[in-house]
């Protein structure tokens, strides 16, 4: 079972075969997506008709709209990007605040609050979406009835999408940053205070640099989760579609390989992000998974 124990030959062969089959299963969908982004045919399907850049560069006049000429698709990437930046900034900020609240403060109801903070992870995304949709519309109605103001951003649209995604991404940022803060050696902080540093100076020069890996990790996770979110977004989306919703709409209609092109673009972007994070320092198996 483990290397130090004798393993029969068939078991070794079976292990290697299974691993190979598993990796093929994992990568096959991504490989076909990438390959058919370059197929010279109107649909992403075999047989292979030769190599083309059309699905990236094609002009509307040529009958093939490539990714870089597809205004709707580019617009939806931009929308996703803006939403993800908002969600990331909000989540990391509240993550820091919550980490200090949970790790450093004692107050009545702390247990309840820390369990409640985990709740967004157990609530299906669709339900987070509809509950926020319904509540926002009730608040909008109330404000309209009471003050006569028409608050458009409480109607389905990007502000609600940001809030919807933030509602559960905040939990993940909180968990990541608290876990790091918990392992912090407080004597370092005390030493700095004894040496005459002010509290803000200690926070800036000692605590924040220590938290840095968790902040970067949680920012990357928040960004990716926001960019990839579908369930919550679908319920709250208005006129401007983020990329996942736009792609979903086109996939239902049987789209051209321009979707493969945008997918390949996403793969390369996330690969770059992953490489950037890995250069951040040596990582163990577990931290590689957590952020």
């Amino acid at each position: 079972m483990i290397p130090s124990l004798p393993r029969p030959r068939w078991l070794r062969t079976a292990t290697v075969t299974y691993l190979a089959a598993f990796l093929a299963f994992l990568f096959l969908p991504l490989i076909v997506v990438a390959v058919f982004a370059f197929n010279n045919a109107p649909y992403p399907a075999p047989p292979w008709h030769g190599f083309t850049w059309d699905w990236f560069l094609g002009n509307p006049t040529s009958g093939r709209v490539g990714l870089f000429k597809d205004a709707d698709l580019l617009g939806s990437i931009w929308t996703s990007f803006v939403v993800a930046i908002w969600v990331t900034v909000l989540s990391v900020l509240i993550g820091i605040s919550n980490a200090f609240l949970i790790e450093r403060k004692n107050f009545a109801g702390k247990q309840v609050l820390s369990v409640l903070m985990l709740a967004p992870l157990v609530i299906p995304g669709v339900i987070l979406g509809i509950s926020i949709l319904a509540f926002a519309s009730r608040v909008a109605e109330f404000i309209d009835d009471t003050f006569g103001w028409d608050w458009d951003y409480l109607r389905p649209g990007l502000p609600l999408v940001v809030l919807g995604q933030f509602s559960y991404v905040a939990t993940i940022a909180t968990l990541t940053i608290s876990a790091r803060l918990r392992r912090f050696d407080r004597t370092l902080e005390e030493a700095a205070l004894n040496l005459g540093a002010s509290k803000p100076a200690v926070f800036r020069t000692i605590v924040l640099p220590y938290l840095r890996p968790a902040l970067i990790g949680s920012a990357a996770i928040s960004f990716l989760m926001s960019f990839a979110d579908f369930n919550t977004t679908l319920m709250l989306v208005g006129a401007d579609s983020p990329l996942t919703v736009e792609m979903y709409g086109r996939m239902r209609e049987g789209a051209t390989p321009v979707l493969n092109a945008v997918s390949l673009f996403l793969m390369l972007a996330s690969a770059l992000l992953a490489l950037g994070l890995m250069r951040g320092g040596p990582r163990t198996k577990s931290t590689a998974a957590a952020g």
Binding site: L5, Y18, L26, L30, V32, I94, S114, I123, M251
Partner: protein
């Protein structure tokens, strides 16, 4: 945090207040109040324009309309099966990563297994559609190999939905499994071997009890995500997907029947919570510990 020239006690209170405010605003305005509102919504009936009365009508509809509870049960059963299959498929890989691969190669293998999940579910589902649809890669391959005479449609079956669900869940099973297997001391396995236990007995009496927290965590997360999934069942299952989240979407967005949609949403939430509780009870674990593990 800054010394504001006020008494330390008040300074502490102020600090606590400043840290509490964002947390309460987040949980109150985005989680608690919306769900209370959703509950209220599900418990009323529209009897005229802007006129509502408290009623259980929406929940009654769920039980009297066979379509609703049929889809409800189907979603639950398929999610349980998908969770089990994911565990079965992921466990050997987690074992290879945590125990068989030496040093760096283990980390590299783990990262390799995580890479596909850096891209969104939409992209991965697109890949499966290209592979499986009638004009797709696998049907063409089957014809070429002489297994089928004409291309067969591999999309829009329950098995297709299952493949998609298992695929998309693997990551959430692998992470807790690997971390719980890594913490298992190899000498325990060696001891079991020396005492004459065969592989199966060792697995049952040493490995699984040790990995139980990781297994529970993985199963709970995978089950919840599968139950609440929308993209994979609708795209891979097409019109025959019959997934419960789809019903909620239809009521809320397509038919604008928010009362019915809210009731269905609560039923899904109830189902999800009940099965998570059951899982925790069976494994004898606490919710907080499980969530921190993943």
């Amino acid at each position: 945090m800054a010394s504001l020239g006020i008494e330390p006690k008040w300074q502490g209170r102020l600090g606590l207040g400043l840290l509490l405010a964002p947390a309460i605003l987040w949980l109150g305005a985005l989680i608690v109040l919306p769900h209370v509102d959703l509950a209220v919504l599900s418990l009323r009936e529209r009897i005229g324009p802007r006129h509502y009365v408290p009623s259980l009508a929406q929940y009654r509809t769920f039980f009297t309309e066979p379509l609703y509870w049929h889809v409800f049960v189907r979603t639950a059963v398929m999610s349980v099966i998908a969770t089990f299959l994911t565990l079965l498929l992921a466990f050997p890989i987690a074992w290879i990563i945590a125990k068989l691969a030496k040093g760096r190669s283990g980390s590299l293998l783990f990262i390799l297994c995580l890479i596909p999940f850096w891209v969104s579910e939409t992209v991965r589902t697109l890949g499966w559609m290209i592979l499986l649809r009638e004009s797709g890669v696998l049907p063409a391959l089957l014809v070429k190999l002489g297994i089928t005479a004409v291309p067969v449609e591999l999309l829009y079956h329950d098995a297709t939905i299952m493949v998609g669900l298992v695929y998309t869940s693997l990551l959430f099973m692998l992470i807790p499994l690997v971390s719980s297997l890594e913490s298992l001391d190899n000498s325990l396995i060696e001891a079991a071997y020396d005492l004459g236990a065969n592989g199966f007995t060792t697995l049952r009496t040493v490995v699984i009890p040790h990995a139980a927290p990781g297994i529970t965590a993985g199963c709970i997360v995978v089950f919840m995500l599968t139950l609440g999934n929308y993209l994979t069942p609708t795209l891979l299952g097409g019109k025959s997907s019959q997934w419960f989240t789809e019903q909620i979407y239809n009521q809320f967005i397509t038919r604008f029947n928010w009362e019915q949609g809210a009731a269905l949403g609560f039923l899904l939430l109830g189902l999800s919570t009940a099965l998570v509780m059951l899982g925790l009870r069976l494994a004898g674990q606490r919710f907080g510990d499980v969530m921190r593990r993943t």
